[in-house]
């Protein structure tokens, strides 16, 4: 279980997140908020790239900043901008990152082949990534997030650059992962999570505004679909500010 307890974060005088309390267990969680709401900041704290100013994040009851590497080895992460070595092939890069996660080299090679097949890159696994399109690089990133067989998988805006067929393939992967892992999907694209997320989290005014199932959210916001619910939650602010 991943717990976020009273977490706050500010950059200089600008408060990004305030008193965030969330609990994650196995399943797919969609973080749905407009750009600049604080989704990426929250995710970076979960993957230990940033430290919270207040509060703590616990994995099975232990603070993740104390656990350190023992926590990071169970986390798989696809950032908003996936970093890679352009002169590497997908196989080279994935096995390199897997080694840094302590995955045995033989296991890493086997897993790398299977994951690249699963994301549709089996034919190009030994071609240098500098020749890849943005969508292909993104798919390498998706495979990379799963290389260490993580217990927590976090995707930050994962479908950028993916065509419709690849998005469907990605959603199928998510749905399967959600059965045995904590999957956190951060996006501002409603269709990415509409059919697969068990729980949706919406951040508004630096705090968690809603954390509930899609059915309950629709009921609370008097909406027919998640997109309408999103508009109902955030559009009022847009009209006031305009």
């Amino acid at each position: 279980m991943l717990e976020i307890k009273n977490v706050s974060k500010a950059f200089k005088d600008f408060t990004v997140l305030e008193d965030i309390n969330l609990t994650f267990e196995n399943g797919v969680y969609g973080m749905l908020s407009p750009n600049g709401a604080g989704k990426t900041t929250l995710i970076k704290m979960i993957v230990t790239l940033l430290m919270p100013d207040e509060g703590e994040i616990l994995w099975n009851g232990e603070n993740i900043s104390i656990l350190g590497g023992r926590y990071r080895e169970v986390v798989g992460y696809l950032p908003q901008k996936f970093g890679y070595y352009r002169d590497d092939t997908p196989t080279q890069f994935l096995t390199y990152i897997a080694a840094l996660n302590g995955v045995d080299s033989d296991v890493a090679k086997e897993r790398c082949g299977k994951l690249l097949e699963r994301v549709g890159l089996g034919d190009v696994k030994n071609k240098k990534m500098k020749k890849f399109s943005g969508g292909m690089v993104q798919r390498v990133g998706i495979a990379n997030a799963l290389m260490n067989d993580p217990k927590i998988v976090i995707f930050d805006e994962p479908t950028a650059g993916l065509d419709p067929m690849e998005r469907v393939r990605f959603r199928n992967i998510l749905a399967e992962l959600g059965k045995t892992k904590i999957v956190i999907l951060s996006t501002h694209i409603v269709s990415d999570i509409e059919n697969i997320a068990n729980t949706v989290v919406m951040i508004k005014d630096h705090r968690v505004h809603i954390c509930d199932t899609i059915d309950n959210i629709l009921r609370q916001t008097n909406a027919d679909n998640l997109e309408s619910a999103f508009m109902n939650v955030y559009e009022a602010d847009t009209l006031i500010n305009s």
Partner: protein, 248 residues
Amino acid sequence: MEIEYPSEEKKEQSIANIIKTTKPEPVGTIRFLIDAYREIGIKTILRNSYKIFILSAVTFSLLTACSLFKFDINVCERRSIVYLLSMFFYFSPFILLSTDFMYQIQERPFDVYEMQNTCKYTARHLILLRMPLFSLFTILIDIGTAVVWCSLGGTQYLPHIIGLIASGVMLYSLLNIAMFNKFGIYGYIGCAVIWLGGAAVFNAVGTDMKYAILTGIPVIIHIISCAMMGLVLNFSVRRSYKRLMFGY
């Protein structure tokens, strides 16, 4: 029958005992290094190391050329050869390790750096893991050079050379590893400053001030440029580099 319930103090003691026996203990640096070498693999840790050797050779050649041409040293003089060799032995660990350190910082695009910092072994760990290995390479290079020198008839300098290898290389390497592990990049720069100071004193006492200056100036330039590259280009700009500096 009266049931005796444990007091609050006893309850807390029991919980503390359970946590103590089941929670894994933090490991020391040596144990951590051994586990890391085994898990990651030497081949992965030494990725692209050939570039470091090429860069180091270029750096040392430039330092040597600077010394020779600027201060008009006659390489045919035995004293000059001793100086050059002592400079080589004394500074080879510094050059090899510092070149690797700066290369490690520069060669990663920032996004790759972030990716690695979400791994079990972060970019900082990787830099730390390479240090002992490059220290070992330095020792082997120095021993090889000493063998060549001795075969050319320089056996009278053998104790001097062995002393430099043993104390200089190993001392610098251990100091560098310990200070980087504890203080991050500030530890690294501090170690380089200590080394430079020691080198200047060594040469001033062992030969004369001219050689002390010859030793110092190129290395000062090297340190300053390395520090500026690291600090200005990366650390002052990117918040996430705090992990590299302070470590957590």
